[in-house]
């Protein structure tokens, strides 16, 4: 039922996404949308010489799950590298799509999205911000000094 999905933690995370802002300058950026529901996410990062995220900016127009996920990404991203984001994204996908428990990462708790597992049409909403982050960093990897 929806109350499991739309619980307080998710709602608070989504509300926090109202405060995200774009960066004035960024090293890499990516926009993604989900055609099914129209969620749109823009993720942009500034990165250090060794590829760590030093600043993050966002723009989001989407459902509550998408905005909550973006908020979680925002809390996690600073200091992380492409590999970290890729691992978390894979974890999230494993949990949502295959129902496997998430691996423990002290810096991020993905369990609030467990109730979304039963709703396949919503998986893309949750994954969208992380996929956009991967795209941004991947593009950066492909085109820059790393």
């Amino acid at each position: 039922m929806s109350h499991e999905l739309y619980q307080q933690q998710i709602k608070q995370l989504a509300a926090d996404a109202d405060d995200v802002e774009r960066l004035k300058f960024s090293d890499c950026t990516a926009s993604l949308d989900t055609p099914l529901c129209g969620d749109e996410v823009l993720v942009e990062f500034k990165t250090s010489a060794d590829g760590r995220i030093t600043e993050a900016g966002y723009e989001v127009s989407g459902c509550l799950l998408c905005r909550a996920s973006l908020s979680l990404l925002n809390r996690y991203a600073l200091g992380k590298k492409l590999g970290d984001i890729a691992r978390v994204t894979a974890n999230l996908e494993e949990m949502l799509v295959h129902g496997r428990p998430t691996q423990i990462d002290d810096d991020i708790d993905l369990n609030c999205f467990k109730p979304a597992q039963a709703h396949a049409t919503r998986h893309d909403c949750v994954l969208l911000p992380f996929r956009a982050a991967l795209n941004a960093l991947g593009h950066s990897m492909a085109t820059s000094r790393y």
């Binding site: 739309y6 129209g38 459902c63």
Partner: protein, 408 residues
């Protein structure tokens, strides 16, 4: 004749109380309608008693199957008031019908020719023409919509020139329910020698269509939106128009003679344009649905649907934070209501409505250009059919109050 709501609704098993389980309040009819049991029975009976390929073998079963398929074509022809069933081509649906036209009609065009669409089109009546533009160099032009999503026909004179070869527009919007004023469009198209295609996917569920009165060249629709099975659709075309279409797909059944190096295609459009074994049982189901729909009292049903629409539109007034898409005027409007809450995303609304047994769709409804024109990115849509009740409309309104309570 009248309209007996209860007996009509009882024909649809999915809408009946099953005891114990949650009642289905199905308001997603613009996506797919429910199907009456007798249509399913017709499909099953055909598969059990007449299953064979058509127009190939001479055994009795094949003759029965061929007859059933041809009968279905005649049922569709009667529904559309078409002079001859030779003008009815079965397709897999609206999308495949338009793709067929985009090849069959479009490949006769040349660079510099124009096709006039509108901002209100479903992606199915947009992307095939975009692809044609990329293949052939045909230019697409668009009738804009006003703030209510209705086509702004004042722009027609400047948009329609002798370069325009086809006007391809929706008969009824799947987002706003706006029914297109076809007459002036046909007149303007005729004046420049352009053909007219109507996308009837959202119109046919609301009653028989008279293509002769509409005076159009092509009409397309899907079975699954008008109480018939999936996987079957219709392309109507005037005989002289169909006969000029280029072959879209090659295969068995569409030829008179084949050698290793070349083939002579069948001259009858219904054969030339239906390559391979068609969806025979689905066509039989569509025929059953069309025959039944013609027995209904459509003036009474349309009045009932308008009453439902009014009830929903009036009920929505209690949500000042909700933007309604489309006209408040129910004249020339099908019972389709798109709406947008100022802070709650349609996907979240639909998700929670599902807890109440309410089936609605949220998203861009395969009409992103229309939503852009209306200034929104996504919308929730309640789309009603004649088997919906006032109780269901009230249940939606009550549930919306709770959704807003939960998410704000």
């Amino acid at each position: 004749m009248g309209f007996d709501f209860s007996s009509l609704r009882s024909l649809f098993p999915a809408l009946c109380e099953h005891g114990g389980g949650q009642r289905l309040l199905y308001l997603d009819n613009a996506a797919t309608s429910q199907i009456p049991k007798f249509v399913l029975d017709a499909v099953v009976r055909h598969e059990l008693e007449s299953r064979a390929n058509i127009q190939r073998s001479s055994h009795s079963l094949a003759e029965k199957a061929t007859q059933a398929y041809n009968n279905a074509r005649q049922s569709v022809a009667r529904f559309l008031n078409v002079a001859s069933s030779d003008e009815i081509v079965f397709t897999a649906g609206t999308t495949s019908a338009i793709n067929l036209l985009a090849h069959g009609f479009g490949n006769n065009l040349k660079t510099g020719d124009e096709i006039l669409l509108s901002e209100a089109e479903h992606h199915s009546n947009l992307i095939p023409w975009q692809l044609l533009g990329q293949r052939v160099g045909v230019k697409l032009r668009f009738i804009p919509v006003d703030e209510e999503g209705r086509l702004d026909l004042q722009k027609l004179p400047e948009l329609l020139t002798t370069r325009c070869k086809l006007v391809a527009i929706t008969h009824c919007s799947n987002v706003t329910g706006a029914i297109t004023d076809v007459k002036p469009i046909v007149a303007a198209a005729r004046a420049v020698g352009a053909r007219v295609l109507l996308d009837g996917a959202q119109m046919v569920p609301h009653g028989p269509v008279d293509v002769q009165t509409l005076d159009i060249d092509f009409y397309v629709f899907s079975g699954h939106k008008c109480f018939a099975p999936n996987g079957i659709g219709v392309l109507y075309g005037r005989r002289e128009e169909l006969s000029q279409l280029q072959v879209f797909q090659g295969g068995g059944g569409m030829v008179d003679h084949v050698s290793l190096c070349e083939s002579r295609y069948a001259t009858a459009p219904t054969r030339m344009l239906e390559a391979g074994t068609p969806a025979i049982a689905q066509a039989v189901g569509l025929g059953a649905a069309m025959d039944w729909m013609q027995t209904l009292d459509w003036p009474a049903i349309r009045a009932y649907e308008t009453r439902l629409l009014n009830r929903l539109l009036n009920g929505m007034q209690k949500f000042p934070e909700m933007k309604l898409l489309g006209s408040r005027d129910t004249h020339d409007r099908a019972p389709v209501v798109g709406f947008v809450h100022e802070t709650i995303h349609p996907h979240d609304i639909c998700h929670i409505l599902n807890d109440y047994g309410l089936a609605l769709r949220g998203g861009h409804h395969c009409a992103q250009p229309l939503l852009n024109a209306l200034g929104v990115k996504a919308a929730t849509r309640a789309s009603l059919a004649f088997y919906n009740s006032e109780d269901e409309v009230d249940a939606l309104l009550a549930a919306l109050e709770e959704v807003i309570d939960i998410l704000t």
